[in-house]
């Protein structure tokens, strides 16, 4: 049972529960603290939160010796691995918008990931200073018959449906760009050579993708291709940001701990290990005995094998497969309360005012602060 709406202005009372039964926020926080304090390996996962929420989660993880994870870490890590293994060229959505004469879209799910792509990048903006940039859109290796609904401009599609051989074709393209000989490729060589010439001929090209749909090898080839292009011209990349404030949480995790997500505090100092601290692995292997799941933007939890959520901080509407031990409703950042979030439109952190507050539920940061405050009592009683 959940508390009834209070009626006034549609703002409802916060809901919390223990074992599915309604509970006060205080009791729920105390129970969550007890679970965390008893745990030998707590995991703070999901982390769909604003910057304040992420800060509180990381601080809590240090306090309880837990692991910090984000629901889109595996996507973030694919881009990040390229960055930290070989380096990358990057640009901003703003610079791509005003400057790009060639947009190289790669793979699928671009508009789905960032609906504003069409309005912000594919359509040429009015240039206040009157620079006339012609913009060519090339779409490399999408699914067969892929379309960008809502965009009527011209798109040159190359290598649609090559799927499994995308990495090889990107490697061949990179080789041809360097003038090297190649044996064969799925895409006809004259097509790849023409593409290489178009990319080389760009004045300021921008490659766009989402790592959700590309593999590690494909990303490495793409980033290498762009680096090579800069030997003679200017070319950069705009990997689309992961949802649920993934890039924002990454930033906060970076400045607070020195590391990205998948960082654990078991030894008392932060330790980053993308394999060991992968939430899915920690749950499946049974290494974690307490999962605190945070999802303030309405994203449903991942379905894990072999484990369930102990403490859920989520939206009222979020449906969980199993009833968690503790559930605390949290407010949605940027809707119910002012928040700082990463913006895919600007590529940086921005302050977002509450659009239409619907609930008096605590923010993620407030809920975590309540739990942290009760942690002292829990550790005192169990020691």
């Amino acid at each position: 049972m959940e508390h009834m709406a209070s009626g006034d202005q549609g703002v409802t009372e916060p809901a919390a529960s223990i074992d599915g039964d309604p509970a006060s926020l205080e009791d729920a926080a105390a129970e969550a603290a007890r679970l965390l304090a008893r745990s030998s390996q707590p995991l703070i996962a999901g982390l769909g939160a604003d910057i304040e929420g992420a800060r509180a989660a990381i601080a809590l993880a240090e306090q309880v010796g837990g692991v910090v994870e984000h629901m889109h870490s595996s996507v973030l890590m694919r881009d990040l691995d390229c960055l930290r293994e070989t380096g990358v060229m990057l640009t901003t959505p703003g610079e791509a918008r005003v400057r790009a004469d060639v947009l190289l879209l790669v793979g699928d799910a671009l508009v789905e990931t960032w609906p504003a792509l069409i309005e912000r990048l594919l359509r040429l903006p009015a240039r206040p200073e009157g620079v006339d940039v012609a913009r060519r859109v090339i779409w490399l290796a999408p699914e067969a018959d892929a379309k960008i609904p809502g965009f009527s401009g011209e798109i040159t599609v190359i290598g649609a449906g090559i799927g499994a051989t995308r990495a090889v074709n990107l490697a061949v393209l990179r080789a041809r760009l360097k003038g090297r000989r190649v044996a064969r490729a799925e895409i006809p060589l004259p097509t790849l050579d023409a593409l290489a010439a178009d990319l080389k001929g760009a004045r300021f090209g921008v490659a766009i993708w989402t790592a959700a749909r590309l593999g590690a090898l494909e990303l490495e080839m793409l980033n290498g291709l762009v680096r090579d292009l800069n030997d003679t011209t200017r070319f950069s990349t705009l990997p689309l940001a992961a949802p649920d404030n993934g890039a924002g949480v990454l930033a906060a995790c970076g400045w607070m701990t020195g590391f990205p997500m998948r960082t654990g505090f078991g030894t008392g100092a932060p330790e980053h290990n993308p394999w060991r601290f992968d939430a899915e692995r920690l749950v499946a292997s049974g290494e974690t005995d307490c999962v605190l799941w945070v999802s303030a933007f309405g994203a449903p939890p991942l379905v894990w094998r072999g484990g369930s959520i102990s403490v859920a901080l989520c939206d009222r509407e979020t449906r969980l497969a199993e009833t968690p031990k503790v559930r605390i409703e949290v407010a949605r950042p940027g809707v119910d309360h002012d928040a700082v979030l990463h913006s895919p439109d600007t590529g940086t952190l921005g302050a977002v005012s509450a659009k239409a507050p619907r609930t008096a539920a605590p923010t993620v940061a407030e809920a975590l602060a309540r739990i942290a405050a009760r942690l002292q009592d829990s550790s005192a009683s169990t020691c």
Binding site: G94, T257, G268
Partner: protein, 545 residues
């Protein structure tokens, strides 16, 4: 509560003082000795200790998007350290904001300026700064490669439009001043220009670096912003680039100008390797230009990472990356380049760089106009400051270091012949009194009555580096935060900003500019006080207009 620091050596150049004496602190201020038998609540025996105002670092890359990227690029660079007391959360997290604040405080520094923030990323920078404990902070906002300034100059709108824009940027980003980085060169690089000097013309906009620097210098000055335009010149790191620095100094004419990390511009093209020190020429030019201040950007040996918004320079240096990886960002104005680098004591080039920095320190005669920096982390991490203080204060120690350098590098510098030794008084001038004056921080950098109670006590000894690494005591706003070189607890400082008046017409104009060019509201970069997550996160420093 009245605290009495009794019988220390007060080194306070702002008040022409270097003497044994008492200092009284009440709340967050230095106060006059109490009258009529009032006794202090706490008396600290400072006998044998050196007492200085808290140190002020005017140029250290400690926060912002580029520093964040550097952390992510180099996970191998910052293994966490040994466990520390839980009283100071995350202070053991290597290269974290929390560790940054602790390490600065332990050296007796209480105010640090992050000198390179792109306006669009101001909020990110302020959020990071808010998680740096103990010290006060500030940002300089970067202009001079942004379309709006270049567009104003292209259309010949003149000084007042640029001045209004600069005011709008300072207010929107909550910055303490303005920095220009390779003026025009970074914008030109987006048009595939690979070399850019002071009189080169930015494609499309038709303006030169010289014109941009002079226009921004004038605007900052006319707005009454205390800190003069902070300039990162063109041609950083290239042989023969001392001429670019000399041109920039000459172009300053009589208006104030600050040149950042001059060491990186102290290079001639003489000798067998085509690389030599031109520090003496630069020092001579600085000595005869009283309107110009500089900071050194000393290089020290070891692994570091170069973090710069001079995207052209960083791109050009990508081949020297160590380890071999780099990130180059074409941003909305400057962007950034992150290139890891190792300064090797056995390298001829690195040894010359090391020598050039020390030569500048030792050959520029006025400690009020030469500032102590390593351009952290570009020349070296700020944790090397204690070693550099020791090198400046002890010529025998310097001779030992020089003896270990490649002999050919000593031949193209004057370092081996320099015998000057900095005094404690000069160190205090360079790191306290002068920076406070340069930034317009009237209540900092001195120990006079009414000053902010940011006070560092050092225990002098034979090992000068040890003295500066571990302050005996540090007070921040009168709160004892460091004892025997270790942080005892956190408090959170403020970010210092100026707030010049902004014309209503400029607000409207920026709204329509951002809408037309980016399809965004012009306030997307705003930094609301409540967004930063700390109580009273900002403090406004007065402009002189």
């Amino acid at each position: 509560m009245l605290i009495h620091l009794k019988g220390g050596r007060l080194v306070d150049p702002a008040n022409n003082r270097d003497e044994i004496g008492d200092l009284f602190i009440r709340r967050d201020r230095i106060v006059a000795p109490p009258q009529g038998g009032v006794r202090a609540d706490e008396t600290v025996d400072a006998d044998g200790l050196v007492v200085m105002a808290g140190g002020i670092d005017i140029h250290s890359h400690i926060a912002g998007a580029n520093v964040s990227t550097a952390r992510l690029l180099l996970p191998e660079q910052h293994r966490a350290h040994a466990r520390r007391p839980a009283a100071t959360p995350l202070s053991n997290a290597g290269w974290s904001t929390f560790e940054t604040g602790c390490l600065y405080a332990e050296m007796g520094f209480t105010t640090v300026v992050e000198p390179a923030i792109s306006p669009h990323q101001a909020l990110h920078a302020h959020l990071e700064l808010a998680d740096i404990p103990i010290i006060d902070k500030a940002i300089l906002a970067i202009l001079g490669n942004d379309d709006f300034v270049l567009g104003l100059m292209r259309s010949g709108e003149g000084a007042s439009a640029i001045q209004h824009y600069v005011a709008w940027i300072l207010e929107s980003t909550r910055a303490l001043g303005i920095k220009v980085i390779n003026a025009g060169g970074v914008a030109a690089f987006k048009d595939n220009v690979r070399k850019f000097s002071f009189d080169d013309v930015v494609p499309y906009y038709g303006v030169t670096s010289r014109q941009i620097v002079k226009a921004l210098q004038r605007a900052v000055h006319d707005l009454g912003v205390p800190h003069p335009l902070h300039v990162h010149c063109n041609n950083l790191g290239l042989p023969g680039n001392f001429k670019t620095a000399l041109e920039t100094i000459a172009a300053a004419e009589d208006l104030p100008l600050h040149l950042a990390h001059l060491q990186f511009y102290g290079y001639g093209a003489e000798g067998n390797q085509g690389f030599s020190s031109s520090a003496p020429q630069l020092a001579e030019a600085i000595n005869s230009a009283p309107n110009v201040t500089i900071d050194v950007g000393q290089a020290m040996f070891g692994q570091t990472v170069t973090v710069s918004s001079d995207v052209l320079r960083q791109f050009s240096a990508r081949g020297q990356a160590h380890p071999k990886k780099y990130v180059i960002i074409d941003g909305d104005s400057n962007g950034g380049g992150i290139v890891p680098y190792e300064y090797k004591a056995g390298s001829f080039f690195n040894a010359v760089q090391f020598a050039v920095g020390l030569e500048l320190f030792l050959l520029i005669s006025d400690p009020w106009r030469v500032f102590f920096t390593t351009d952290h982390p570009n020349g070296a991490p700020f944790t090397t400051y204690p070693e550099i203080f020791a090198l400046l204060m002890n010529k025998d120690l310097r001779a030992q270091w020089v003896s270990r350098l490649p002999t050919e590098s000593a031949a193209v510098t004057t370092l081996p012949s320099l015998t000057r030794e900095y005094t404690l008084y000069e160190i205090a001038t360079m790191t306290r009194a002068a920076p406070a004056r340069l930034l317009g921080l009237a209540d900092r950098g001195h120990l006079g009555v009414g000053g902010r109670a940011d006070v560092a006590l050092y225990r002098p000894g034979k090992d000068l580096a040890a003295m500066f690494r571990s302050a005996a005591r540090v007070y921040k706003d009168g709160d004892l935060v460091v004892r025997d070189g270790a942080v005892t607890h956190y408090r959170f400082g403020r970010s210092l900003q100026v707030a010049p008046a902004v014309e209503a017409t400029m607000q409207r104009r920026m709204a329509s500019y951002y809408d037309a060019r980016y399809g965004l509201p012009s306030d997307f970069m705003r930094v609301p006080e409540g967004a930063v997550g700390r109580p009273q996160p900002f403090e406004t420093i007065a402009c002189s207009c």
